[in-house]
Amino acid sequence: MPDVVVRKIATVIEEVFHEGGPRANVPQKRGAVVAVISNPYAGAYVEDIQPFMEDLKPLGLEMAQKLIDALGGDASVIEGYGKGSIVGTAGELEHGALWHAPGGYAMRELLGDAKAIVPSTKKVGAAGVRLDVPITHINASYVRGHFDAMEVGMNDAPRANELAFVLVMSTGARVHDRAGGLSANDIKGEDGLR
């Protein structure tokens, strides 16, 4: 099983007080954690890549905990989440898919019994590329106010032989949420959708 070799970890927290409308009583927070690791499969086609998913689980948990801490340390205030991966140019898109299990597992593990699918995105890119990571409500994907996204990237990553894995979390709806639809107060939270 390949080692997980971490070169860099970064967190970014945004606190949104307003966007031209009324100032929020509680500012919305959005945060991301990015880990830049060596891609053990860079440069060649490898058929069986699945064992690496298991190896990534501790990194996923470490990242999710770091992000919760950076958002204030209280997992109960997290209402939205998402994940993404960027594959350096010596890798293939499929390597980005290795993040599905460990990234989702880590956030569910630390956020209690989150019901909704974790929205995700992935791409191949070079250092400095930006990834728009989607965000939805952790228990009911259809909550309209929580549809959001966060742009992440790093000037020096991913290099050709690297992978950048991302987790994002938010503490609430868009700051001036007023496009209607299912409200977070009205969800049943049983099927992960409504």
Partner: protein, 194 residues
């Protein structure tokens, strides 16, 4: 006049590996960014003192955010820097008013001492543009291992009538410094230079 802050973002990055070598403890940089309304957008105003006051306010707010995000006590801060990017309806001089007259003193309180000049950079720019914040040792500007920089970028700022203001603080120098010069341990830190 206090700052009309739309958004605050805090980025922390840790470097665990550089050129294949393990960096232990990891080098760490934090940069805190405030997106504020530009009170003088779209007009020429002679007296910029309100922006100078906002600069003082942000020196404290953003310096504190950096130190908190690094999870260190003030005396463990090693280098710092500041920068501003003015949206298109403003003027470069607005950045100067924020950064130079009054930001330094409150920032120095947050990082303890700070005998050295705070290195700075400024530009006009728009949403999604990179801003490179220069870094230098906080007590002895000639410490060569601590000359560095950190990039910040927000996809939605600064809008035309906004200014993005950034302060960076580290608890370390470059990951593998080996170009000689004055070192952190040999610096006296009295005159701000050596």
């Amino acid at each position: 006049m206090s700052a009309d802050i739309r958004k605050i973002a805090v980025w922390v990055e840790e470097t665990h590996q550089e050129a294949g070598r393990t960096i232990s403890p990891a080098t760490r940089k934090a940069v805190a960014v405030a997106v504020i309304a530009n009170p003088f957008a779209g007009k020429y105003v002679e007296d910029l003192s309100p922006l100078m006051e906002i600069g003082a306010e942000l020196g404290e707010t953003l310096g504190k955010r950096c130190v908190e995000a690094l999870g260190i006590t003030a005396e463990r801060a090693q280098s710092y820097g500041k920068a501003a990017m003015v949206g298109e309806n403003g003027e470069l001089e607005h950045a100067a008013a924020l950064l130079h007259p009054k930001m330094g003193a409150p920032l120095r309180k947050e990082v303890e001492k700070g005998a050295a000049l705070v290195p700075s950079s400024k530009k006009m720019g728009g949403p999604g543009q990179d801003l490179d914040v220069p870094l230098g040792h906080k007590d002895a500007a000639y410490v060569r291992s601590h000359f560095d920089g950190v990039e910040v970028r927000l996809n939605d700022a600064p809008r035309a009538n906004e200014i993005l203001v950034a302060i960076a603080v580290t608890d370390s120098g470059r990951p593998l410094p080996r170009v000689g010069g004055l070192t952190h341990t040999d610096a006296e830190g009295k005159d701000g230079l050596r």
